[in-house]
Symmetry: C2
């Protein structure tokens, strides 16, 4: 009997095409799930991993796995199998046959007919993989992959924090994103087990020609974000490289994930003025306070009626490049909902950001925000994780291969 993992690794290496039942359905339905003017599928192989500079899809399903094998060979085989499967999934193919005689199906089948739906699968490696004495990889640990410090006010829950391997599955269809995570969990067994997962919706990456989406606080989210087509900003702020990263991380990026519960009952009880002071922007237009239009530049020195137009502790002031030595991060988060919380609708933000070096970007920025941000009164950081996302792989290779070279 061939294990799922063996089958998929071989299938990936051999570049196998569509199997039973998937080819026609996938091709037929692909257009239905692709927004106008966008291709239906996003290539898995390339210089960078997809899912970072890729214009944000409508849905995410995020997964953190813990590796339970202590064999570095198993870790390598697992990463190879994840890439092979991701390449198949992102082109709309099942991870393996749906008909398998007496064995259970390799692919679980819930996306037959749905097409690729712009699925991307982004793989990250957690700091614990590099622990001395675990896999013998301690000398390969990238300097920017630090353990995150505890920030002021953190209320982290271990069960929804950290992880050895991250899988960020984004797609235009929530079932396609779910299917990727569902099948990659199966594929990873028994070398790794799922630690936590979370599904989200919405977009925070601002892309040309689409209006900036709103978070569940009602504010536009991502106005000042790095835009998908700004190559210079990606090179400076997002893609890892020398001297701080080892060669195997060149063209990769570091991902920080925070699960930020929003205390909607509290937020909803303050006035619009107070909400706007908290963010530093107008709620409806998205304009910085004191300006008229969403994309007007932020003037932190502007004074209106003898007071700063943007409060000293406003979210956009503390997060702005001017307050962070010119540094920026690529935010690519999603909203999530989660039942009822404290008598109000439960939910928050699955904050996901990418950067060249968290030591210079997320960590100092979040240190300031955790101490001062007026928004803290309305949020609770309950989950946290950091991952090194290696560069993309070429055909026949796999994401993370350079780690073992």
């Amino acid at each position: 009997m061939t294990t799922r993992r063996e089958f998929i690794a071989r299938a990936g290496a051999a570049g196998l095409g569509a199997t039973l039942g998937a080819g026609a359905g996938a091709a037929e339905a692909a257009d239905a799930n692709a927004p106008a003017g966008r291709p239906a599928s996003v290539p898995f192989y390339g210089t960078h991993q997809a899912g970072i500079a890729t214009p944000t899809q409508e849905h995410v399903h995020f997964l953190a796995l813990d590796v339970v094998s202590d064999s570095v060979g198993d870790l390598r085989a697992l990463l190879a199998a994840l890439s092979a499967a991701a390449a198949r999934l992102t082109s709309g193919e099942p991870v393996g046959p749906l008909r398998t005689g007496v064995d259970p199906p390799v692919d679980t089948g819930e996306t037959v007919g749905l097409g690729p739906a712009r699925l991307t699968v982004t793989v990250g490696l957690g700091p614990a993989l590099f622990k001395p004495g675990r896999f013998g990889l301690e000398s390969r640990r990238p300097a920017p992959l630090v353990d995150l410090p505890t920030f002021s006010g953190d209320s982290l829950q271990p069960g929804i924090s950290n992880g050895d391997i991250a899988i960020q599955a984004c797609a235009e269809d929530p079932q396609v994103a779910f299917h990727a995570v569902h099948n990659l969990i199966r594929l990873a067994s028994p070398a790794a087990v799922p630690r936590w997962s979370l599904a989200g919706f919405g977009r925070t990456l601002n892309t040309r020609g689409r209006p900036t989406p709103r978070n569940i606080l009602g504010f536009k989210e991502g106005t000042a974000n790095i835009v998908a087509h700004d190559q210079a900003a990606f090179d400076r702020f997002v893609w890892a490289g020398a001297p701080e990263s080892p060669a195997w991380m060149n063209g990769g990026s570091y991902m920080v994930v925070r699960r930020i519960q929003i205390l909607l009952d509290h937020w909803d009880s303050v006035s619009l003025d107070q909400q706007e002071r908290t963010f530093g922007r107008h709620k409806l237009s998205g304009a910085p306070l004191g300006e008229r239009h969403e994309f007007d530049p932020i003037d932190l020195n502007k004074v209106v009626d003898g007071r700063p137009a943007i409060s000293r502790l406003a979210h956009i002031r503390l997060a702005s490049p001017a307050y962070n030595d010119g540094e920026r991060i690529l935010r690519r988060g999603y909203s999530y909902t989660d039942g009822i919380y404290d008598g109000a609708a439960g939910g928050g933000q699955l904050f996901i950001c990418f950067q060249r070096d968290p030591r210079a970007q997320f960590i100092p920025m979040q240190t300031k925000l955790a101490r001062g941000d007026l928004l803290n009164e309305h949020t609770e950081h309950i989950g946290s994780a950091i991952f090194a996302c290696p560069p993309g792989a070429g055909r026949g290779g796999f994401v993370g291969e350079g780690l073992f070279a």
Copy 2:
């Protein structure tokens, strides 16, 4: 100071138009969220409540409220306010002003610019509202609104079961469905508090010209369902009427909701043959076992190789009209996902069905399924509720008004 509820009830009664900031954005963005060939909004007012015969939208956010006031006047005012707000929301308007001086905004604002996205808000009334001595409504209780019996194998959790008032918010955009629930919870305060909520995705109502969707078990869901344009079937099986229902429920329907966790780790470990025997259908094509095409009639008497083509305990046999005195139900459920469960992707079905009389339809059907269905090995019923959904309201009226006549 005007409460949110007072404001909205008055706004609804007066037929107020769009308020600040919403009108233009809503009109502009409406088309982006409407599938080709479908109108962008679904009227709230009409003979029947929307969200029952309405072709199923891609997302649901389901809410159950508990009434904490013991005043029947408060209950009436609450239902009036819910209808007024729902009428505004479903036409893409905020429930009230976003700018309100020193008071908190009436509408929370996260859908500004999104359009109505085919939002429907369906209101249901739970059996506990009719308890003797509570509101004096015991004589008004519809006979079909029974308390559901405990079914064999039920593992119900009280915190995600039952409720006094149901709000089924369905939309093409998850943020629009969330926003409805978010704002209706606020509006209901302090007369009612949220009990449980759950978001789901996908479609199980089969509509003309769209392929049947798959559930997270990988099987097509809804092939033999009542179709949205089958008026005769709706009249016979879905819409409430005499003699079993009181006049105020004429044109309404009874909704049963079940939260069915799927044990994916277990399901994924059995062979395709066993999965198909469990359902009674082929996984890829959706054809009944022994047939070739999805919509081929189910022949429960067919014998192949000396055995029934469809097992005696197959899901579709036990749920079929032939095994249920010709009865059918309208299924309108959704898939949900929920982190990690037992080492696998967590999720299940938010089963929602509508019918003329649960005593003749869901209850006997579920009694058979709970005892025999092969699928039970792979599922756990963890939540359950029943509601009477009154008929639709005309302009100036509200859903449930007949209850107080």
